[in-house]
Amino acid sequence: MTRLWWNQIRSVIRLEMKKTFFARRGLWIYLLALLPLLLFTGHSIQSSRQQARRQRLVSQGEKKLMYRDLLAVRSDMTSEEVIALLGRPPSRFHWNEQTPSGNDSFVVVPHESYHYSDGSGDLYVELANGKVTSVEVRDGYNRGEDSVIFAGVFQFFYLRLAVFFGCLGIFMNLFRGEILDKSLHFYFLAPIRREVLMVGKFLAGLLATCVIFVASELLQIILFISSFTPNAQDLYLFHYHGIGNSVAYLGITALACLGYGAFFLAAGMLFRNPILPAAGILIWEALNPFLPALLQKFSVIYYLKALCPVDIPVPPGTPPVFALLVSNSDPVSPPVAILGVVLMAGLVLYVSTLQVRRMEINYTTE
């Protein structure tokens, strides 16, 4: 019997793969997975261009500068003092501005902009009339900050939006899409247990979403790391848990597909318009930090947040309401989090099996 079921599940998966992976109507899901890749590709290109520009500035500079030299420039300095400290600027702009000086007359004020670099940071100095008017130091490469940004994009954009809507599109199609296409009877008229059919369809959807979104996440991680210098890559991967973090991100993506997939499969079966529960889940997930402790546990993002390897610090001055959204005040342990997602998905799938046995084919009411 088990062997029969496995054969049948494989047949269902084979049928679904054609519809999910190779159908034109599924292209938008690839787009959802592709957009973050484009983002990190842009970031990678931007980082390498910035780095190349800094190296050019270093090679063209009069003096070899250190980071503390960049910090030494103050607002009350003159241009001569700046040049004495840092050497002639490798990048310099000069322009004049007319400033009103009373009695309908104007004074021409010479302005200058100096750009220095120590190879990893940039110093921008604005001068007017030979005096420093503004000093800006920009850190170029900051692995810690970039890791936090990556974690933030992953948690708040990729999981909650890209994976969410991707799973909505794929899993909702499994049953509701068949009903709209008037082809569900093809499956119901086969000598296959409806529970086995449902499991087969779910696994097909899970396979498709995992392949698309885990692959996208892997490529994002590769692009993210490629923006580091080679030394920094070694440091990050082998000394700062880079590999562990990467595996965690991939695993969390797969768990998100499992959790959201189960919910949307059930929604597609239970509701004629699954958008209502989808919008409800979106709002529920967004409001999760504000819910009572017991209700918080009925949420995919509650467990996934606990598994994220990088904590996102709350920026100073953030209102308490938004701070609650960002922070993870009561995280569960990783094994409990994984078990939580799996159990919740299992519970929802069990409810789905009860529903699938009772499903009727009535296309005219759709």
Partner: protein
């Protein structure tokens, strides 16, 4: 002689004017919208906040009177440009929710059931078809946005006096313009998505996705690329910038009003292009 020729005669009575034929679409599309109790309930709910605002205006004028008698200290409620700015924001959100429910059913069913050739074999142009469908949303959303907004303005004007009215007449124009821009964007977006996918449900999901995902992706772009250009992908932020400018709220914004207008125009142009591509009398099936 074939039988039909003996009794059939073509209609020879008066015809309705050609310019008004798009109203047929409006009448029939609108009648189907309120068959759902949920949609009807949602529509009614959209009038709740305007009623709250009406009460606020009334209290604002009576509270100040009471303050003069020494009963309540100070002027608590101020009816100014910010009051109408918040009104437009709240009603704008409700307008989006209403569009998400009612918009997808405008064109998707016609495409799914092969009705477009039937429409276009009449003396009915594509523009008239789109106009007829758009008018459903436009009139519906007007009923919850600028019409109650103008009523609130009129009530405030009548209570506050002519001096206030002349000083703040620009708010009325801003209100109308702000609402119509949002109505146009929502209508075009809903119709474009409705025309692009055959399934009403998927069109509704796409509508949610375009707004939420666009906002999220825009923020991600800003954070990762350390820029403000991501805001161009966030329709809600663009609209909020436009409203900010129209109501002279003065909040600091990453984009200027002109940039927001241009971005929204490009967005509308894309929606129109999608509509032109999909609303045709024929369909190629591969």
């Amino acid at each position: 002689m074939a039988v039909y020729r003996r009794t059939y005669t073509s209609y020879s009575g008066p015809l309705t004017p050609a310019w008004s034929r798009w109203l047929v679409l409006f009448r029939y599309s609108r009648s189907s919208l309120f068959r759902s109790k949920l949609q009807t309930g949602l529509f009614v709910l959209c009038f709740f906040y305007p009623l709250v605002c009406l009460l606020t205006i009334y209290l604002a004028h009576n509270l100040s009177f009471l303050a003069k008698l020494g009963a309540v200290g100070g002027q608590i409620l101020t009816i100014d440009n910010k009051f109408f700015y918040y009104f437009v924001n709240v009603q704008g959100v409700l307008a989006f929710v209403l569009t998400a429910f009612m918009g997808p059913g405008l064109i998707s069913p016609d495409i799914a059931n092969g009705a477009l050739p039937l429409y276009f074999c009449r003396p009915f142009s594509r523009a008239e078809y789109v106009l007829g469908k758009a008018s459903v949303l436009a009139i519906l959303l007007s009923q919850i946005m600028w019409i109650p907004g103008l009523i609130l303005f009129a009530v405030q004007a009548s209570l506050a006096g002519s001096a206030w009215t002349w000083d703040h007449l620009w708010i009325a124009w801003s209100l109308i313009l702000a609402c119509w821009i949002w109505i146009a964007i929502l209508s075009l977006l809903a119709m474009a998505l409705s025309a692009w996918v055959k399934w009403r449900i998927v069109a509704g999901a796409l509508l949610l996705a375009v707004l939420f995902f666009g906002a999220g992706f825009g923020q991600a772009v800003n954070v990762v690329m350390r820029t403000q250009l991501g805001h161009f992908l966030d329709v809600v932020y663009l609209m909020s910038t436009v409203w900010n400018g129209l109501f002279r709220v003065g909040d600091k914004r990453a984009l200027s009003s002109l940039e927001a207008y241009l971005a929204l125009s490009a967005f509308c142009a894309i929606c129109l292009a999608l509509l032109i591509r999909k609303v045709r009398a024929y369909e190629v099936v591969r």
